[in-house]
């Protein structure tokens, strides 16, 4: 039964990955999308950590005088430290963008934002992208 029961951790990882991707695709709220992205990244981290485990293995530190020590593979753990940091940075950047989008549009729902953009285009015509309005491109500044 190694097929289903022996590989149960891989099924959990796949389930988490699919949940994360579903949230990114199906939810309109920008903050929820970032959370879905986080879940997706966490599942990949779990994947690496799962493949590092050696059955019966301990931490990879050999005490004084010990001879035969079975330890888990430390390399994927080290790699995942980097991946966790990347996830934190991405989440922080994404949430900062959400705060600024909330201030600029007044809403954090993607369908409302798209509707506001389309209305802006319809009202001001295609000139919307260069007209000096509060939400569009103001005059350029003098070079630094």
């Amino acid at each position: 039964m190694t097929g289903l029961l022996g590989l149960w951790h891989y099924w959990m990882i796949i389930a988490l990955m699919m949940v994360g991707l579903y949230i990114v695709i199906a939810r309109d709220n920008l903050v929820k999308k970032i959370m879905g992205l986080n879940i997706f990244q966490t599942s990949v981290i779990l994947f690496y950590v799962a493949l590092a485990k050696v059955e019966g293995g301990t931490a990879p530190i050999i005490p004084e005088g010990a001879e035969h020590v079975v330890y888990s593979n430390p390399l994927p753990h080290v790699l995942m430290l980097t991946a966790i940091v990347v996830g934190v940075a991405t989440t922080a950047l994404g949430l900062a963008l959400c705060v600024r989008i909330q201030e600029a549009y007044g809403s954090n729902e993607e369908d409302e934002i798209v509707r506001m953009d389309v209305e802006g285009l319809a009202r001001r015509g295609d000139r919307a992208e260069s007209a000096p309005h509060a939400d569009d491109v103001p005059p350029e500044e003098v070079p630094a």
């Binding site: 991707l21 990114v24 920008l30 999308k33 970032i34 992205l37 997706f40 990244q41 990949v44 994947f47 690496y48 493949l51 994927p76 790699l79 980097t82 991946a83 990347v86 940075a89 991405t90 950047l93 994404g94 963008l97 959400c98 600024r100 989008i101 600029a104 549009y105 934002i113 953009d117 295609d126 000139r127 992208e129 260069s130 000096p132 939400d135 569009d136 491109v137 103001p138 005059p139 350029e140 500044e141 003098v142 070079p143 630094a144």
Partner: protein, 492 residues
Amino acid sequence: MTEHLPALQVVVPMLAAPVCVLLRRTQAVKVFAVLVAWSTLAIAGTLLATVLDSGTISYKMGGWAAPAGIEYRVTIANAYILVLVTSVASVVLPFGLGSAGSSVPQDRKYLLFAAFLLCISGLLGITITGDAFNVFVFLEVTSLSSYALVSMGHGRRALMAAYSYLILGTIGGTFILLGVGLMYQMTGTLNVVDLSERLPEVMASRTMIVAFGFMMVGLFIKLAVFPLHQWLPNAYTYAPSTVSAFLAATATKVSYYVLARVVFTIFGAAYVFGELGLDRILIPLSLAAMFGGSVAAIYQTNVKRLLAYSSIAQIGYMTLGLSFNSLDGLTGGLVHLFNHAMMKGGLFLVVACVTYRLNSSMVDDWRGLGRRMPITMAAFVVGGLSLIGVPTTVGFVSKWYLVSAAVQQDKLVVAGAILLSSLLAVVYVWKIIETVYFKAPPEGGDPVAEAPMSMLIPTWILIGATIYFGLHTALTAGVASKAAALLLSGVP
């Protein structure tokens, strides 16, 4: 010191970024950043010269030998891309980062330069490293700094553009991470050379197909191959024009190099094209990109968005060259990579010049600019000619290689498609040229002066490169064909 050049190539811009944060004064930071960019160009040039002379350079990070340690490997293909990225950075930085439309207040401009230097160091790191996980790390460094750079454009739509770029880019990066993890699981190593040696034994397993699939999808997102290109038009349109110039000229090129490494070195062309049949997927997608991007560009009313859709078409040419799996095809792809970087970077800098004077990137507002900004518009014309592929420009060289590669493999329909989509490029380039030269300027506007010399020189350097290297092809096509031969031979 010269034996440490591979490490210095990445370390110099990476340590320059926190120095910018400490320096704070915008003028000092600007001068410092320009000097750093020029020094990276010097290092890249030296590396290219050394590699052309004496072969591949290998550098052990931390003194640990590969495959246990991380090594930086400089080959001809590598050094070509390093020179490309550093030269674009050296030209864009003196142009002025905060001048063409960013929403950063004057006293915090140093943060913009710090993010830019981090982006440069990330791009150089992706290119130069010989360790698969290190590629992911530098890829994320590049991506995070470019999300921040894109979000600094004027107007609130820059924020949504940066947000969707962030979501799609992170998914792409995580897929690449997953692919690397699956490869590590089967072979136990992360070093590119070691992977290429150990993979043939485990090639038959299903895990390898899944690993390849994940890496391909992740790289296609980063490269903006046809169905996964959604982030590109908005990101290039709403970012500050100088940032668009830099990203259009470098980010996708480096991802193309990683794609070539994964396909030809790690997995091997026999497996990828023979067993998995990547060309059956990539050729239709490339053709769709070439036609879809060009047709979409024809209908755009904003110059930056037009150039962005045209970029999607050009990336289609590059992936088409790779999918031919032949020397001429890959050479064509690499030369087109160079052409697109120079030409698109130059065209976006032209847009930056015009927005500096005119505050608008709408095609309608550019009516009659040919008389008022003659030198700038002449640059646009030359860049457009290189886009189409007129003889004496680099665009002609790359199209020549691509068409001959198609004809060699009896894919005459594909060869015809390449020529036909070049005609579509004529349509959208002519649309701008007609507006600029043959329409009367809008009444009631203020008189518009020519762009300042400090902006014209960088623009003309990039545009001039397309003509210079179209005539003296030794440095581009010569190096590209050596690089292609090295990649195709599968020697790591």
